[in-house]
Symmetry: none
Subunit: 130 residues, 4 copies
Amino acid sequence: MQFDDNMPIYLQIADRICENILSGKWGPDCRIPSVREMGAEYQVNPNTMMRSYDYLQQKNIIYNKRGIGYFVSSGSISLILENQKKKLIDNDLPQLIKKMFLLGFTRENAIEAVEKGFDEVQEEELVKSN
Amino acid sequence: MQFDDNMPIYLQIADRICENILSGKWGPDCRIPSVREMGAEYQVNPNTMMRSYDYLQQKNIIYNKRGIGYFVSSGSISLILENQKKKLIDNDLPQLIKKMFLLGFTRENAIEAVEKGFDEVQEEELVKSN
Amino acid sequence: MQFDDNMPIYLQIADRICENILSGKWGPDCRIPSVREMGAEYQVNPNTMMRSYDYLQQKNIIYNKRGIGYFVSSGSISLILENQKKKLIDNDLPQLIKKMFLLGFTRENAIEAVEKGFDEVQEEELVKSN
Amino acid sequence: MQFDDNMPIYLQIADRICENILSGKWGPDCRIPSVREMGAEYQVNPNTMMRSYDYLQQKNIIYNKRGIGYFVSSGSISLILENQKKKLIDNDLPQLIKKMFLLGFTRENAIEAVEKGFDEVQEEELVKSN
DNA sequence: GTGGTCTAGACCACG
DNA sequence: GTGGTCTAGACCACC
């Protein structure tokens, strides 16, 4: 796997794990691979892997059974979505809007652009689902 | 000034300087404050300030006259802005909107969030200009 | 059974066994269930169960007849309990009370907390014995 | 410094730092020694030291200024006391009470013992303050 | 100079 | 076998 140099590897891996949970690869209370297995898969030191697990456990997305391994929490999916939503609203969106503002977009321009963008995405998804 | 912990301070300051240029505070070939003055204003280490100027100079947004100071470049700016605008509309915005869509935002939710965000930015900028 | 994450499981089980001995469920020289039976009851790995027995045997609380099973020691227990009681009154309790005092508990707070705690334990044990 | 083998070193060091804050050695917004300095003092690897700081930052007891160091949070003292109180009520006290129960203390015995212990501590502290 | 991340390898308690 | 802790040493971004 390729890693983006602008973000810690352990966070990128945590994101990947979240994706796997969201995609249904690992359901609730499913055991995820051990630190060492996962470390081998991502070609990463077990310590680094451990950090990803630590991080996810701290966020209540996975939990630990001692001597056995890590497991997906039952509420994990909603927690992940909540986290992502929070990040989007608190960081991504304001950042983009500020950029638009500085580039001379008026309030109306901005809204219009979003409406247009949304319609396109909606249509795209509609097509995909057929 | 408050800094976002997720981005280098020198880049955040560079952004602020760009804003000031865009807002017309500093016109073409206008001398901008010295590293020390600016450093004092933003309560930041002069080294950090210097990095911001370095970065902007590298981007041809400001230029340097030795022994005198830094000045706003004339032509390059609008070109850079055009590029940014294009990139924003073609990449950043659709990407974000898609993300919102996948996270369950409805068209109305999305527009509402953008309106709210825009108003906040607008107000923020108003405050800053006083 | 629920386990406390801050203590080894085998020690927690050992405690439970001690409780059962104290409560009279298993009298002196009474044979206690096999490692497998007990492991099944507590839903625990037989290895872990074995560790509990090892630990208790080492403390002379139970003894082993090869090929037959584990048995409750006769004389040693009451002596051990006496020791524990002494240690509790002389060390553990004063230490905890001092801590409470330093953390701002009043005499009334402290007594109230103990009463509440005692009632909870009592109820818990009542439930368990059913 | 001597470390207790039953607890991770990084947590023991975190406790020591808390004590130093409580004792007033490091007031609010005071910079605490760097990871490397502290690591040298406690004869511990900087990574381990970092873990202590991580832990305390996560608990909002210290905060970080990038490139400068770690600083004591303003609300640190009440946070520390709160944590300790919580730990006492949730773990230490119930554990002790259970022990007392199993050792044959009645509710009245227990309360009496606590009253006696509290009075002794109170008197002790009175003497010390003169 | 500061913290932050990563690796490599070791040891341990626990199941 | 599992995770958890610790060390040693390296490299990096940032101030």
